[in-house]
């Protein structure tokens, strides 16, 4: 007789309770927070930011959820800790005086340790108990484990560590234990693989003499997680982690349009302007007026009372404002009212990724509808090209998901016009590509503007005369004169060929809408 097999019941949608960290970007990555009432191992090399992350977890617990905290420091002195996090805006002294935070320094001098027989770490447990009871702590940090275990017997360390994890669980506190990565205790005895509930690794590596910080979830019990590395920064507002864009970016392509700010340009763009959420590149040699086009766009965005972020990587914001005044645009008012925000940075000081992260942070703060990067080429002297490309792609993807319209300007050298334009890299990535060029007509210097491509719309493929006057920008067809042929001959034969090739491509695109 067959024994009846009980039907398997599965608990669907069970979500392990979480303790939110409150750290920007981190909770999204770790499914809402650290496992509640469990211990998370935070590993990393010296200076990777583990102490700060642990501290931020505690402080946010107090600040956001009224959960008191205990910080047991095996490494840094209490005074140093308080001082170090002061620069992040945390007033630990006040939290301590209000009995919301308790910091205890555990002094361990391995030189002093004379072993005379069996021992355990009950002294630590007694102190922990006392500390937790003192403030009614719900969050605990121990920083760092390798200093605690320094010089102690391995078998005792292992059993005491297990005991500690269980003890903390029974105390119903969510804890972070930090440790140096590659510590033989952790790696050899399978602590990381089998015992810890959650393991996060921080990394601070130096490439091209610039340090970049990364975070990786090695383990999160009960959840499937990617093995991705997430870049993060530590600045005066604490830690900010930047989630990656998923492979399938949910992009709702907007069919709405936004004016370029230049009437004549809108006319060339199917009479409507750019698509909202699209990316636009304006490339041209130095001094051809790319910034003027960009700022005209910014001006019209601001006039429509939409928030605009202008990232200036060459001219200072004041220069940009001054230059625009000379052609009739008053940007100053918009800066005052907050509709226009400038981000000015000198690209040699940080690497490209840090700029993107800083910009992303501002974007999350002020939620602009339009962002301008002028010029993007200044950022691209840093780092190898493949890195730049992926970073740009991620950035543009991110903006698309936010339906933010982005305009890049790029300076190109005269020689590069002769090359296949798509080698620039950015031009293949963007939806709309406008090229501005210097030309000589008669004895006058003049400029031409041409739409090299604009996805999804019928656009002009004419090369038009681009003028910057005191009353703004005009883009008119070249007057049919004999002068036109002079302008043509001034260009090299190759340039001419390139323009025709692009135009041919555009014509092909036009038919396939």
């Amino acid at each position: 007789m067959k024994t009846p097999i009980a039907k398997k019941t599965t608990v669907k949608d069970f979500k392990f309770p979480k303790s939110a960290t409150g750290i920007q970007g981190l909770d999204e990555i770790i499914f809402g927070g650290l496992p509640l009432n469990r211990t998370t191992l935070l590993l990393g090399n010296t200076g990777c930011g583990k102490t700060i992350m642990a501290m931020e977890f505690l402080v946010n617990g107090i600040r956001l959820f009224e959960e008191p905290a205990v910080f047991m420091s095996f490494e840094e002195k209490k005074e140093d800790l308080v001082l170090n996090v002061k620069s992040l805006g945390y007033n630990l002294d006040r939290l301590i005086s209000e009995d919301k935070m308790y910091i205890e320094q555990v002094g361990i001098n391995p030189a002093e340790i004379n072993k005379t027989g069996k021992y355990d770490l009950e002294g630590l447990f007694v102190r922990l108990e006392r500390a937790i009871n003192k403030v009614g702590a719900r969050r605990v940090a121990l920083d760092s484990l390798d200093k605690l275990f320094n010089g102690l017997d391995e078998n005792i360390m292992r059993s005491e560590f297990l005991r500690l994890l269980n003890w903390l669980k029974e105390k119903e506190v969510t804890s972070i234990i930090t440790s140096e990565i590659g510590d033989p205790f952790l790696t050899r005895k399978g602590i990381v693989e089998y015992i810890a509930d959650c393991v996060i690794v921080l990394d601070n590596r130096i490439t091209n003499q610039i340090s970049t910080r990364r975070l990786r979830i090695v383990k999160y019990r009960g959840s499937v997680h990617g093995n991705n590395e997430y870049p993060f920064t530590i600045d005066e507002s604490g830690i900010s982690v930047y989630p990656l864009i998923s492979q399938e970016v949910q992009q709702q392509s907007s069919t709405e349009r936004i004016s370029s700010g230049i009437k004549d340009l809108d006319v060339m763009l199917d009479k409507k302007g750019f698509y909202i959420g699209s990316s636009i590149l304006i490339s041209g040699t130095a001094g051809t007026g790319k910034t003027s086009v960009a700022t005209s766009f910014a001006f019209s965005v601001c006039k429509a009372r939409k928030t605009c972020l202008y990232c200036a990587f060459e001219e200072t914001p004041n220069q940009v404002i001054r230059n625009m005044e000379s052609i009739g645009f008053q940007l100053g008012l918009f800066v005052k009212s907050g509709v226009l925000t400038f981000y000015y940075a000198r690209p040699t000081l940080q690497n490209l990724e840090l700029h993107f992260m800083a910009i992303r942070k501002i974007i999350l703060d002020i939620k602009p509808r339009v962002i301008i990067l002028d010029p993007i080429t200044n950022l691209m002297t840093e780092g190898p090209n493949s890195d730049i490309r992926s970073m740009l792609t991620r950035f543009v993807d991110f903006l698309k998901t936010q339906q933010i319209t982005v305009l890049f300007t790029a300076a190109i050298t005269v020689g590069s016009i002769e090359r296949n334009p798509s080698d620039e890299g950015i031009s293949s990535m963007v939806d709309t590509w406008i090229m501005v060029q210097d030309i000589e007509m008669d004895t006058k210097r003049s400029r031409s503007l041409c739409i090299m491509k604009s996805r999804g719309m019928l656009h002009s493929n004419e090369v038009r005369k681009f003028d910057i006057t005191s009353r703004g920008i005009t883009i008119k067809p070249f007057v049919e004169e004999k002068n036109k042929t002079i302008a043509d001959t001034r260009r090299t034969a190759k340039e001419q060929k390139n323009l025709s090739t692009s135009k041919d491509n555009n014509e092909n695109n036009e038919t396939a809408r």
Binding site: K118, Y119, L121, G123, V126, R130
Partner: protein, 108 residues
């Protein structure tokens, strides 16, 4: 040297000798847990054997006085601390390695 100076020096030397001979020991334990019980037994035996009549032994249970765990910076326990004579010494463990204890205490 005057007579007074030599007297002072002599008194000082005698006091020093006296202090040198007197041992003040603190043993920190955790109630009646096995390691602690053993440590107490062992230290009593050592004191009787090597330091008869010239020691002071204080046994402190950190369960009863948890604040001392902080002030004495105790992590591993049992912990034996030699307060005098100089130099101070700290030893962790149940004191079953008697040779080690004797060496560290400077009794050999």
């Amino acid at each position: 040297m005057s007579e007074k100076t030599t007297d002072t020096l002599r008194l000082f030397a005698e006091a020093n000798d006296e202090a040198q001979k007197r041992y003040v020991l603190h043993l920190y334990v955790t109630g009646m847990l096995p390691n602690s019980v053993r440590a107490i037994e062992n230290i009593k035996a050592i004191c009787e054997k090597y330091l008869k009549d010239r020691y002071e032994l204080e046994i402190i249970d950190i369960y009863q006085q948890p604040d001392l765990a902080l002030s004495e910076q105790i992590v591993a326990i049992p912990l034996l601390v030699k307060k005098t004579p100089f130099p101070p010494e700290r030893m962790i463990g149940d004191l079953s390695d008697i040779e080690k204890v004797v060496t560290v205490l400077g009794l050999d």
